[in-house]
């Protein structure tokens, strides 16, 4: 992987062709992994000793919470690449990640609330992780709104990328300042790889779900950003050739 190949895949036609080839594989394998994980998690895994069947929502909660944060990191990286190399592909990726990441953040919040209602007795507590997840959602929304309200596309790309960068610097500060309050959320259970505090019948569906969600996420972003690249390059020759190819 040298610099040349970065330039090659950073060029819109190459990126478009690559994502066109990859998207169905990614989406398909993502859905299959999610289905396996769902069967394993909802039917095979034994009910939890304390929480009963309610714990099964972690199979949806954990992957979406994890993707909401790593999605933001990917968006920030794409924004840096876009700002430095003025790459349309990177800007399209960043722009596509924003709504997808916001959707996963929303999903993480909703599944957390559904789980919290029977377990904690309330759907919402002002706990550090919940609050920073909510702030993450708000920053995603600010990014989307800023991008949509600037009419000039290149200005919109660069301004909102700058916002994504400032957000990525500020998010840890926000998180640790919210930790100031006592935290109610339980610690993560599978980060301790040597002695996981979760039974293995419960663990493998979760791993399937995490991988499935991630691959599905990449597939959605591939598909969305390919469309975005196509719109941005609509005046170029290769798009015309591609459209002609579809028509004939």
């Amino acid at each position: 992987m040298n610099l040349k190949s970065i330039y090659k895949y950073g060029s819109p036609p190459h990126y478009f062709k690559l994502s066109l080839q990859l998207e169905y594989w990614l989406l398909g394998s993502g859905v299959i992994l999610i289905l396996i994980g769902m069967v394993g998690g909802l039917f095979i895994a034994p009910p939890d000793y304390q929480m009963g069947d309610a714990f099964r929502i972690i199979y949806f909660h954990v992957p979406s919470a994890y993707l909401s944060m790593s999605g933001y990191a990917c968006m920030a990286v794409a924004s840096v690449i876009g700002l430095v190399w003025r790459s349309n592909v990177a800007f399209s990726i960043a722009k596509t990640i924003a709504p997808v990441g916001a959707a996963f953040t929303f999903l993480a919040l909703v599944t957390g609330m559904l789980w919290g209602k029977p377990m904690w007795g309330t759907a919402w507590v002002w706990d550090a992780r919940l609050t920073s997840e909510l702030i993450l959602l708000l920053i995603y929304l600010a990014y989307i709104l800023l991008h949509q309200s600037i009419e000039d596309r290149s200005k919109a790309d660069r301004s909102s990328s700058l916002l994504a960068l400032v957000g990525v610097i500020n998010l840890p500060i926000i998180h640790y300042s919210v930790v100031w309050w006592n935290t109610l959320h339980q610690g993560s259970t599978i980060s301790k790889f040597d002695s996981p505090s979760i039974a293995s019948e419960m663990l493998w569906p979760l791993i399937f779900m995490i991988f499935g969600y991630t691959i599905f996420f990449v597939g959605v972003v591939c598909r969305g950003s390919a469309g975005e690249v196509l719109i941005r390059e609509k005046r170029s020759k290769w798009v015309r050739a591609f459209i002609e190819g579809i028509k004939s």
Partner: protein, 220 residues
């Protein structure tokens, strides 16, 4: 000397168009005074509320008046001229932000001294309120200036500035209110004050740089 010119110009403009500053200050006063009317006037309640109320009204007031910090200069081309001088553009922006802070936030803090006395704050706590407000408005002004520069190219930014600023300003609001609250119950509040000072240096050093690059994006 360009810096002195900018300072003189900003001062002159703010004196000639003093209604802009006055509107922001009266807005601050109204928000701060509407809380006791809505929530009740018991002394304990007011003393518990004063920290958050001061911080939130300062945030709202600076978000409202910051819309005019770059917009007129952007429309009449002054910012573009500032961009092509040999001076560092970030330094010029830093001067402009500091001028905005002096013209708008310093009177706001003076006014806050009188407002907190209606919240029954006395003695040493008054000093803490002033210190907290100085530190936090410096950060808030830098954050709002960043949001204002991002939205320069939009004709009617409206609430977009608030949507950008409020999530980013959360740490300042949390620790600012904490500092005032701890001082009122006479506990050690050096922790939040150190954090606020850190945030102040952080935003004052990086804020103008990011703001300048956002303005460059909006102009070209």
């Amino acid at each position: 000397m360009l810096f002195r010119d900018i300072i003189r110009r900003d001062l002159k403009i703010s004196i000639r168009r003093s209604t802009d500053v006055l509107t922001g200050l009266i807005f601050f006063l109204l928000i701060a005074l509407i809380f006791p009317l809505a929530a009740g006037t018991e002394k304990d309640l007011l003393l518990k509320m004063v920290g958050p109320v001061m911080l939130i009204s300062a945030l709202l007031a600076s978000m409202m008046s910051i819309q005019n910090i770059f917009k007129p200069d952007y429309i009449n081309g002054t910012l573009e001229q500032m961009m092509i001088t040999t001076n560092s553009f970030s330094a010029l922006i830093a001067v402009k932000i500091m001028m905005f802070w002096m013209i708008f936030s310093m009177p706001l803090i003076l006014m806050a001294c009188f407002i907190v006395s209606t919240y029954y704050v006395e003695g040493f706590s008054m000093f803490t309120v002033v210190l907290t407000l100085i530190l936090s408005t410096l950060s808030l002004v830098n954050l709002s200036a960043f949001a204002a520069s991002l939205t320069l190219a939009i004709r009617n930014p409206g609430a977009l500035i608030s949507i950008i600023v409020i999530p980013l300003s959360l740490p300042i609001i949390i620790f600012g209110s904490k500092a005032i609250e701890l001082s009122i119950v006479s506990m050690d509040n050096s922790g939040p004050l150190y954090f606020l000072t850190g945030m102040m240096f952080f935003t004052c050093s990086l804020g103008p740089v990011v703001t300048a690059s956002a303005i460059k994006i909006s102009i070209d």
